[in-house]
Symmetry: D2
Subunit: 391 residues, 4 copies
C-alpha cells in the first residue's frame, strides 16, 4: 500500500461518511469501526516497511487522522491515538520491545489505545512474579474498550517510580466501564477503566518517567504530550472540514433561496457565498498551521537523542499555536454552518449538530486559554512550555 495511504484514508472516510449521522445517533461501541480501521490498512502506517508496515512518516499519520476525522471525528480520534500510542513506545529505550509490538501489530492487526489521564489519581503498581500487579481506576480511557493493546502508566507503590508499560486489553482484570455518555465524540469509547490485579511481566515495561527535564532521554520522552496535543488539533481541523463538506452538500441540493434575497438559488445568495468563503478560508488557515506544526514535530522527532530542550520547546509552541487556532475555528465553523444550510437543516434526521458536539466536547480536553498563554509567554520572553501531561 506504500504511497497509497492517502487513498486508503479517503476510501475509509467515504465509507464512514455514509452512515456517520446514523452511527452517531446509535452511539454503540465502535467495534465495527475498529474493524474498518483494521481493514483499511491504516493501522500500520507508521510501521517500517521491513516489519510489514507502510513506512510512512509523521505527516502522513497526521494527514490520515484529519482525513478520517472529517468524515467521523470519533474514528479520526481513535486512529490518531492509535498512532500515538504505538509510536510513543519508541521514545523509551526498549528497541526489542518496540520491535516486537510493531511486528505483532502487523501480524495481529492490532488496534492500540492508552490509559493515562493525568488529572486522575495514578494507577498502582506492585512488584509480583517477575513483573507487576496493576490496580486502580482511570477515567477517559479513549478507545481502551475496543483496543487490542494498551499503553498504560502507573506508579510503583514501593519506590514511587512512574512506569509505562504495554498490556493486553483483554487481560484478566481489565474492566472497561462503558460509562462514556457525553455530548460529542460519542463513538470514541472514552469511558473509564478499572484494573483489578492485572499482571504485567517485566518484558512489557517500557520504562520510567525521568526525574526531571534534564535527565537523559527526558526531552525525547516529553514529545509524547505535545504529539497528543497536535493530534487533537488535527481532529479539530478535520471536524471543521467535515462540517463544511456536509453543509455544502446540503446547501447545494436542499437549501431554498431566501424569500427576500432576490436570487433563485441558495448558491447564488451573496451572504451564503461569502459566509462559506470566510469559514473555508479560516479552516484552511488552521489546516496550514497544523501542517506546519506537524512538520515542526516531525523535525523534532527526527533529531532522536540529540533533541534539545529548546528545539522541543519550539515544536511545543508551534503545536500550541496550531491548537489555539484550530479550537476557535472548529467551534465557530461547526456552529456557523447552520446559517448556511437554513432552518430545515435542524431536523434531527440530518444530524448536523454532531460536528459542533464533537468539536465542543473535544476542544475542552484542556483549556485553550492556557495554550494561548504559552504562545504569548514564548513570544514575549522566549520561555518554553513546561513539560507536563498537557504541554
Amino acid at each position: 500500500m506504500t504511497d497509497n495511504w492517502r487513498k486508503a484514508a479517503e476510501r475509509l472516510a467515504a465509507t464512514l461518511r455514509d452512515d456517520a449521522a446514523e452511527r452517531d445517533r446509535r452511539g454503540a461501541e465502535p467495534v465495527g469501526e475498529v474493524h474498518l480501521l483494521r481493514d483499511s490498512g491504516l493501522l500500520t502506517l507508521l510501521v517500517p516497511t521491513e516489519l510489514g508496515g507502510q513506512g510512512a512518516g509523521w505527516l502522513a499519520a497526521n494527514t490520515a487522522t484529519r482525513v478520517v476525522a472529517a468524515a467521523d471525528a470519533s474514528i479520526g480520534h481513535l486512529l490518531g491515538y492509535h498512532y500515538l500510542q504505538l509510536w510513543r513506545t519508541e521514545l523509551f529505550d526498549r528497541p526489542e520491545l518496540v520491535d516486537r509490538v510493531r511486528r505483532d501489530t502487523v501480524a495481529g492487526r492490532w488496534f492500540w489505545a492508552g490509559v493515562s489521564n493525568p488529572l486522575d489519581a495514578d494507577l498502582r503498581l506492585a512488584p509480583a512474579n517477575g513483573g507487576f500487579r496493576v490496580d486502580g481506576r482511570k477515567s477517559f480511557a479513549t478507545g481502551a474498550s475496543v483496543a487490542d493493546r494498551l499503553v498504560v502508566s502507573a506508579t510503583r507503590t514501593d519506590t514511587g517510580e512512574k512506569l509505562t508499560f504495554v498490556v493486553d486489553a483483554h487481560a484478566d482484570g481489565v474492566h472497561p466501564l462503558g460509562d462514556w455518555d457525553n455530548l460529542g465524540q460519542r463513538l470514541t469509547a472514552s469511558g473509564g477503566i478499572v484494573f483489578d490485579g492485572v499482571h504485567v511481566p517485566d518484558e512489557d515495561v517500557l520504562g520510567g518517567q525521568p526525574a526531571d527535564e534534564s535527565a537523559p532521554g527526558a526531552v525525547r520522552l516529553s514529545l509524547a504530550a505535545i504529539a497528543f496535543q497536535l493530534m487533537l488539533s488535527q481532529v479539530y481541523v478535520g471536524t471543521a472540514e467535515g462540517a463544511l463538506t456536509e453543509a455544502a452538500g446540503y446547501t447545494r441540493t436542499r437549501t431554498r433561496a431566501w424569500a427576500l434575497s432576490g436570487v433563485d438559488s441558495a448558491v447564488a445568495d451573496p451572504y451564503v457565498l461569502a459566509g462559506y468563503g470566510e469559514l473555508v478560508a479560516r479552516t484552511r488557515a488552521a489546516g496550514a498551521l497544523n501542517d506546519a506544526a506537524a512538520a515542526a514535530l516531525g523535525a523534532a522527532v527526527d533529531r532522536g537523542g540529540d533533541l534539545t530542550a529548546a528545539e522541543r520547546g519550539e515544536a511545543a509552541v508551534a503545536i500550541s499555536a496550531a491548537k489555539v487556532v484550530a479550537t476557535s475555528v472548529a467551534n465557530e465553523v461547526t456552529s456557523t454552518v447552520f446559517e448556511l444550510v437554513g432552518a430545515r437543516a435542524t431536523a434531527n434526521k440530518h444530524g448536523f449538530d454532531r460536528f459542533w458536539r464533537n468539536a465542543r466536547t473535544l476542544t475542552l480536553h484542556d483549556p485553550v486559554a492556557y495554550k494561548a498563554r504559552e504562545v504569548g509567554a514564548h513570544f514575549l520572553t522566549g520561555e518554553h512550555p513546561a513539560h507536563t501531561g498537557y504541554s
Copy 2:
C-alpha cells in the same frame, strides 16, 4: 396579580428550571408545561383588568417571555407566541370579537397558538354555511397541538382574498402532525398541521390582508410581523441568560481549577472570570437593546390608527437591530460557556447543550444577514423595511 407578574414569571421560571434538562431529554408534547402556564396566571397578562386580566403592557409581556425563556426556551417561546396571537386580534377591526376572545381566554384559561408559516402554500378557504371551510397543510405550527385556540390565515379560493380568523384547536378536522423532531426548541410542539374541512363561522373571522401598504389599517396590521420578530429576539436573549446562569452554578460548585492555573478554585481563574465578564456584558447589551426595541414597538402600538408608515419603519429597524445582536450573542454565549465549565460538563446528564441547540435552531427562523441588511439600508438611505411576513 396586578404588579405581580414579574414574581409570577420568576416563580414559573424556577419551577421550569428544576427539571428543564430532563424534560428536554424526554421531548414530550408540552402538555404539562402549558398547564403550568395556565396556573401561573401569565396567560392573561395583556388582557385588560376590567375583563379579568392583568392589564399589563407590552414591555411586561416581553419581559415575562424572556424570564421564562431563560429557564426553558421552548416554554418562553410558547408564552411569547401566545401573547402575540391573542394581541394581534386587536389589529383587525373587530372589537366585539376581540372582546369575546379576551373574556373567554380569562374564563377558559385559554392558551393560544397560530398557523401562518409564510413560506408554505396558503391554506384554502371555501365559503360554506355562513362561514368557511378550511383545508390544507402548514408546517412549523408552533404550539398548535397543545393550544386551545388558534389564529390562522388562509386564502379564499373564490376571491383570492387572504383572511385571518380564530378557530378552536380541537375542532373537527384539525390534525396536528406531531412531526417536530428538530435539534432545539424541542418542547415547542412546532410540527405541521392539517386542516381537513374545518368549519369557521363568519363571526370568527378577524379580517383580510390589505391590498397594499397604503390601504387603511394596513400599517397597523403590519405590526404583527415585527412583533413576532421581537418576541423571537427576546427568547434568544433569554436563552443566553439561562445558559450563563446554569454555567455559573456549575463553575461555582463543580469546575476544578485548571492544573496549570496556579489558583485553587475555578472562580479565581483569570480567564474564567474575564470569560464570564465578556459574555455577561454582551448579553446585557443584547437585553438592553431588546428593551429599547420593545419600547419602540410599544410606542408604535400606542399610536393606534394614527401610526404612520415611517413610525412603523423606525420600530421595525429597532427590532431588526435587536435581533441581529441577540442572534449573535445567543449563539456565541451558549457555545462559549462550555469553556467556562470545562470538559466534565459535557456529560449528557447535565444537558448543557440544550441552550446552544435552542439558540441555534430558533435563530435560523429567518436569515439574520437580511436583518442586518435592513438595518444598514435604513442607516444609509433612510429606507424602511418592506412589510412582509418577516419584516
Copy 3:
C-alpha cells in the same frame, strides 16, 4: 433653555462636525472649542435652575456628552469631564462650597477640569496661611490648560491625609506643560501639569478621602470613580456613532460600486448594506447598555447618603459591563467602517482615521480585561468591585 439641552447639544455637534477633521489635523489647544461649549449653554446643564442652571439630570449629561462626542470625541470628552468635576463636588460634605462654585460657574461661564491621575505620585500639600501650599507634578490632566477651575487631589505631607479641593486654573504656580502629543483625543489638552507653590485657602477644600470603604460618606464619595468610567464609555459610543455617520455620508455620495459587484451603486451592494447593519446594530446595543448604566448610576446618586455598598456595587458592575461592550464596539466600528467607504477614503484630506485614533487612545484609559473580570467575578460570586480610582 430648559428642555432644550438636546437641541443645544445637537447644534453644537453640527458646528463641531463641520471642521472636525481640520481641527484635529491642526491639533491646537481647544481654546475655541471651550468657547463654543460656553456659548452652547451646556456647561450649566446639571446646575439647579434656582441657581441659574438647566436643572437637568444625570442622563441628560450623559446624552449631551455622547451627542457632542459623536461630532468630536475630544470635545465630548472635555464636556463629560466638566460635568463630572463640577458634580463630584456634591459628593463631599461642603454644601456652601458646592453652592458657591455652582453660582460662580453660571456667572463666570466656568469650564471645569481636574487633576488626579491615580497612577502618578501624589501632589504634596503643606499647611500654609489658612490653607495649603500645593507642589508636584501630574500627567494626563485632561482639559486643565483650558479650564477656569480645577478639582485637584493631593496628600498632606504632615498627616498623610488625601484632600480634594478646587483651585483657580490660572492661579500663580499652576503650569500646564502642553506636552500632550498622542495618537488620538488630540484636542483634549491632556498633557501634564506642574503645581509650584500654589496656594489653596481652607474654604476651597472639599474634604478628605475616607480611611476605608466603611467610613461615613465613603460609599457616596466612591461614586466619582465609576461616574468617570461611565463618561468614558459614553465617549466611546459617541465615537462609534460619529464614525458611522461620517462613513455613511461618504458611502452615499462618493463610494463607487465595486467593479465585480453587479450593482451600480455602493448603497446597493449587499456586503456594504449588511456591513453597516452589523455595525449599527452593535453600536445601538452599546448605546442601550450605556443608557441602562447611566440610569443605574443615576439611581445610586439619587439615594444620597442612604446609598449602600451593595447598591453602589451593582451600579459599578452595570458601568463595567457597558464599558466592556463600548470598548469593543468603538474599536471595531472605527476600523471596520473603512471597508464600507473603500480605498479612496484613506486619503488624508478626509481624516477618517481620527475616529479610530480617538477610540484606540481613549479605550486604553485602563485595561478592559480587568473590567470584564469585575463583571465576571460579580456574576459568579456576587462580589462587588473594590473602590479604587478605576472601579
Copy 4:
C-alpha cells in the same frame, strides 16, 4: 549571495526597522529606501544565476517581501511589486526582451514598478515612429516615481488592442504627480502619473491581452493578477508580524503591570500573555496559509504553457483564501496590540499606529468580501474566479 537571500532580507529589515517610525512620520519619497533595496542585492533575487541574479524561486520572493514588510510595510510593498513587474514580463512571449531586461536589471541595479490601475480609464497608445506614443493619466502608480523601469498597459486607439510594454521611468513625458497623501503605506510613492507623448519603441512591447480566457497563453498571462493579490497578502502578514514584534519589545521594556493585576510585571499579566498568544497564533496561521498559497502559485507558474484554467483556478482560490485570512488578521492584530502595550504607548513619538494605518490602507486595495465570495463559490460549486485585474 546564493542561499543568503534570507540573511540579506533580515539585514535590510533590521536597517529599516531602526528608523521606520521616523521615516514614516517624515513621509518623504522613498528614494533612500530604494537605494537600500539596491544595495541589499534583493532586487535580482528572481533573476537566473547565469544572468547574474540569485536564481531563487517564487517562495523566496514571497518570503523576502514578508520579512521586509514586517520592518517597513511600504518598502516590503515596493519590493514585492518590483518582483512582480519584472517577473510578469516572462508571461508574455518575448524571451529576448525578458532576457534583455533581466540582464539590464542586474547591470543597472534597476528597481521596477508598474502602471495599471484597472479602475481608471486606459492610457492611450497611438502608433508612431516604429513604436507608439503613450498619453493619459493613471492613479495609484505605486513606486513609479522612484523606479528605473515601468511595466505599463495601454490601449491602442486605432485597433482597441490592449498592450503591455516596458518603459524608462525617466523618459521624456513621464510625469509622476507626487500626490500620494494617504493614511498608510506612506512611503510607497503611490501617487498618480501622467504620460504625455511618451515614446515606446516596438521592441519594448511585451504583447497584447488575449481576447478571452481560452486564447493561447491567456491562462498563463492571467497569473499576474493573482500573483499581485498574493504579494499584497504577504505584506498584510508582514505588517501583523511587525506590529507584534514592536509591541512585544515595548511590553517587555516599558509597559507597567496594571495596578489591579496583582503581578509585578506586564509580562506576567495573564491577559497580556494570552492576548499575545491569540494574536501570534492567528498571525502564524495567516502566514502558513500564505506559504501554502505561494506554493500553489509556484506550482502553477512551473507548469508553464501547460497550465490549465482549472489549475490556475485552484491557485487563485488558494490565494483568495489566504488574502481573506490575512486581511482580517492584519487589521485585528495591528489595532489590538495597543491593548498589550497600554495607554502610554499611544504617544506619537512611538509611532505605533503606523502598523494599523498600513494594514488598514493596503487591505482596502480591493474589497475582501468579494474574495470571500470567490472562495465560497468555489467550495460550493467548483466555480473558479473570473480572470480580471483583481482575480
